[in-house]
């Protein structure tokens, strides 16, 4: 049924439809509305789950780890400092191969403290072994939650998944969202049957000492399974489309790329802004397109190569920065081509909620006409940058 919902409520509806047995989370802006809504569902009886109140995100992650180890479908959500606080447990969840599903409302990291949107939080956890997908709009965020369980709980995959949605821009933005019917979701997503779990009848141990004789194999297996997701993600997307009649998950999205001379690469909600920019440019006959990275982990190198190999100029827009290096997405896109064509320029923008407007995209394209850049920050205010310590703002 179509409803006019803010993004947080949309993903809460999505999580409810998947019938998790345990939900645990700690409030953090801009994620709080998601779990508030889920707590409402549990309190009013429309979701038959145990909502575990905890004292921190570290504990929230630990609760869902434990519940998932006991064979229960689980859900959690967090953001920014909360995600980073969880990070120790997140590496464990991936290492123990439990299909936890989490929504991350992407937000900047401190210091300075900043509650606004960028993607530094989740990008900083790219090496944790979690699958990471980035939604462009609220409908996708909801749909990705359903598909995340489908993907992660596949007995051949057994991986945790972060569904990323830009904080405020999506979590607090209102859009019309089609909330699917319960029966359809039940058909698409049968109850979770854990291939291994904590069971007194058949005791097993998880996450115990892996000394040098066994550790590297566990990491190799994790890596190979993430690579298997490169074929599983589009497959899950097709099953989704067959059931719900709208496009499902994919590794990338191509927007007017075929005849483009310039292609922008980006992730998340900013892709909507970029598409608008492209549409206006196309009216003026400028051949520009967008490659949207949907699956950041695993990173679809082949798809990126195929999409961009004949494009003369590529602009990569990062909403995060690997300090001391460059934008992380730029590094990866560039690595696909090594020293081959096309020329790949890297840009960093939108950190800590600085708006990425159509003007920003225009600046990016203008700069790329003049030179090939590696780590160009967009929209900086030079008056705030001084050689010596000063008390600003």
């Amino acid at each position: 049924m179509k409803q006019f919902l803010e993004g947080s409520f949309a993903v809460a509806e999505g999580a409810k439809l998947c019938k998790p047995g345990v939900v645990s989370a700690y409030p953090i802006t801009p994620q709080t509305h998601i779990v508030e809504r889920l707590a409402d569902f549990v309190a009013t009886g429309s979701l038959n789950a145990q909502f575990v109140n905890v004292e921190s995100e570290h504990s929230a992650a630990t609760v869902v780890l434990g519940a998932c180890a006991a064979g229960v479908r689980v859900f959690t959500a967090t953001s920014s400092q909360g995600l980073i606080y969880m990070s120790e447990v997140l590496f464990n969840i991936a290492g123990m191969r439990f299909p936890v599903v989490m929504v991350c409302a992407n937000r900047a990291l401190s210091a300075p403290i900043n509650i606004w949107n960028d993607q530094q939080d989740a990008v900083s956890l790219r090496d944790s072994g979690w699958v990471q997908v980035y939604a462009e709009n609220n409908q996708e965020a909801l749909d990705f939650v359903l598909q995340a369980y489908k993907l992660g709980e596949n007995p051949k995959i057994m991986l945790p998944i972060i569904v990323n949605m830009d904080g405020f821009i999506l979590t607090h933005g209102m859009e019309t969202v089609d909330v699917p019917a319960n029966e359809l979701v039940d058909k698409f997503l049968p109850p979770y049957k854990a291939p291994y779990k904590l069971d007194v009848e058949n005791p097993m141990s998880f996450g115990l000492l892996g000394d040098p004789t066994v550790y590297i194999e566990t990491r190799y297996a994790l890596h190979k399974t993430l690579e298997d997701c490169l074929s599983m993600i589009p497959q899950v997307g097709k099953e989704f489309e067959a059931t719900f009649g709208r496009k499902g998950l994919d590794l990338v999205e191509l927007y007017k790329v075929e005849d483009a001379k310039t292609v922008i690469v980006a992730m998340g909600s900013v892709c909507g802004t970029i598409k608008d920019y492209i549409d206006t440019q196309r009216e003026e006959g400028k051949k520009i397109g967008l490659l949207r990275i949907v699956s950041y982990r695993p990173f679809p190198k082949e798809k990126v190569y195929e999409a961009l190999k004949k494009i003369p100029k590529v602009l990569v827009l990062d909403k995060s920065i690997s300090l001391g290096s460059e934008g992380p997405l730029y590094t990866e896109v560039k690595s696909v081509f090594a020293n081959k064509k096309p020329k790949v320029s890297g840009f960093v923008a939108g950190l800590g909620g600085r708006d990425i407007t159509i003007e920003t995209i225009k600046d990016m394209v203008d700069i790329s006409r003049k030179k090939e850049v590696r780590c160009e920050f967009l929209g900086l205010r030079p008056e705030l940058l001084k050689e010596d310590f000063y008390v600003g703002i």
Partner: protein, 91 residues
Amino acid sequence: MFGPLIAKPASSRANKTGSWRSAKKPRYLHQNCIACGLCKLVCPESCIEGKEKNTYMPDYEYCKGCGLCAYICPKKDIEMVPEHEKGEKAK
């Protein structure tokens, strides 16, 4: 693909961690033991067995030589000796 992910419980028994012992090991003198059981209680490896007076002994395949048993013994009936010395009772 899965690596060595899950194990049967108690698999740590197969790991003979006594080989980690690097400096000293406890020697149980079995002279003044009053069977208070404190050595057995404090052992972080739970590798000490015994019931009657002068019967308590560590399992050297797991004892890491931490010395807690010797420290806690109220009768000073356990001493820490270099690894190469005979570990069992002094007699």
